[in-house]
Symmetry: C2
């Protein structure tokens, strides 16, 4: 089986009208870790399924993920994605909207290639996930304007925005491979906890990551005043009057240490990683599960 990255890059979007398809090819050719299709394939491998049967859904998940990035970049007015100009910068905003729409349709076209006996089930899981991602994005927008966001609400938002796509990738792989509901649920919950741990690790690294390996400048979230796990935990510990406004980056980081925010984040990542690993105890033990274990362990120790 060819490398998943090669397969994605071989999806041919050199079609007419070029103004519609070129941005899709561009968005998909930027690389990335292809985590979601890999998780779909691993989900099938855990239950001894045929990778080829999972491939259309795996590709649909990756195309869908890149569609969300494309439209998110328009909404966030982001100018760079994976070291290259974003689509709405390289072309224009209308192109990003329309090519993004077509990308979402392309995801459903790939999905429609799933074998008929699994199609309805996969479509249902995919639609639920896609809906939750839009809901998560909306909550993220809503939270920017609210001062009373709780940590529980934040966790639910990142569950929707980040975790369900990882979880659904694993579940769809397992489902196509013939796993029962319990098996699907175990991988789904692994994915949820993995995604949450990943996001909090991201919030932590933004404050205490190694600038040499983190890839972006430290403190971006703090400068933007984003309500991350760090920010919300500091406020929960220091009281509703707490804020980063007017404070230097070094001062905020010192407070995060003193208030025990750094420690709380590290403990939460450990707790979520442990919960992710627990889910793997009930599924068939094989090389694919070992890979999922390695993924969780690597994540917990990641520095970028």
């Amino acid at each position: 089986m060819k490398d998943i990255n090669e397969i994605i890059e071989s999806l041919d979007y050199r079609r007419e009208p070029r103004g519609l398809y070129e941005p899709i090819g561009y968005a998909l050719s930027a690389g990335g870790k292809r985590v979601r299709p890999r998780l779909a394939l691993l989900g099938a491998q855990v239950f001894g399924g045929d990778e080829q049967l999972v491939l259309p859904a795996a590709l649909a998940l990756e195309v869908f993920h890149n569609f969300t990035l494309l439209h998110d970049d328009v909404m966030d007015k982001a100018v760079v994605r994976r070291g290259r100009p974003t689509v709405h910068v390289k072309w224009d905003e209308n192109t990003a909207i329309l090519s993004g729409d077509q990308m979402l349709i392309e995801a459903y076209k790939l999905l429609s290639e799933v074998k008929e006996d699994k199609l309805a089930g996969v479509l249902r899981m995919f639609n639920k996930m896609a809906t939750e991602i839009c809901e998560g994005q909306q909550y993220d927008v809503d939270f920017e304007k609210r001062e009373d966001v709780s940590i529980a609400e934040y966790m639910e938002m990142i569950r929707l925005k980040t975790s369900v796509l990882l979880a659904t990738a694993l579940q769809i792989g397992a489902y196509i491979a013939g796993a029962d509901e319990e098996g699907q649920r175990a991988l789904y919950e692994y994915g949820i906890n993995l995604g949450l741990a990943f996001q909090i690790q991201d919030d932590l690294l933004d404050c205490f990551g190694d600038p040499a390996t983190f890839g972006k400048a430290i403190g971006g979230d703090i400068r933007e005043g984003k309500k991350t796990f760090m920010w919300l935990t500091a406020r929960a510990k220091a009281g509703a009057g707490w804020s980063t406004q007017g404070k230097e980056l070094a001062e905020v980081l010192r407070e995060y240490e003193q208030l025990g925010v750094r420690k709380a984040a590290e403990e939460e990542i450990q707790r979520l990683t442990a919960r992710a690993l627990e889910q793997l105890e009930t599924v068939p033990q094989n090389g694919a599960v070992a890979e999922l274990r390695g993924l969780a362990a690597k994540l917990a120790g990641r520095t970028r």
Copy 2:
């Protein structure tokens, strides 16, 4: 069976987060003729199918249609739709993008309720149609910047942008009702020709409609310099140097009469309507077919 309009308005989008779903309910509550779901139901009735089995797909087609209007309005910077502020005006552009995305996903959720034995087929037809509509929109954008658009290219663009949705609605209805490929094709071709006739009628009415019944000001296309059937036919008849630039509305209309553009449009509408009606000769003759005949006749004589 309840009126289709009532069913659409009863789709409940009073969900959380409200910022995501309220604009969807708003966009769907503006009314309109609900032509596409009606055509899906008629398509089934022609072949004696059960309307209830077609309903999920019929609703999906209407939600999809309104999704395209929502994103088109953002791209066109349109401020009014059916007498009310557009979504990006009433809320903002990011809301229109994200709620529009969710609306497309809602269309696929409705579609996933089609019975399993027809699901793969319906999904394939729907995806093909959705793709063609995005392609049509892109050609429309491309044509604005091109001076050498041919009438054939224009017809292909409006086939993609307008006709395939009507045609696919009829085809899906027929398919779910169990029509064979020939029957599906007949209704599909009826829809294609009906849609083309409708668009050229629209181009004609923009020039020679009765201001009292047309609903909008006469000559809007001319003022915007849009390359309609009228414009392209005038240039084909008068030569590549012909243009509306610097001409009064009355002068352009006089030229359209003198060059025989008005007559050409009227003849094209008659020709396309006749071709639409021809398709209906091979399908079962019943009340639903009579309605489709009436629709074509009404269209050919419409003044608004």
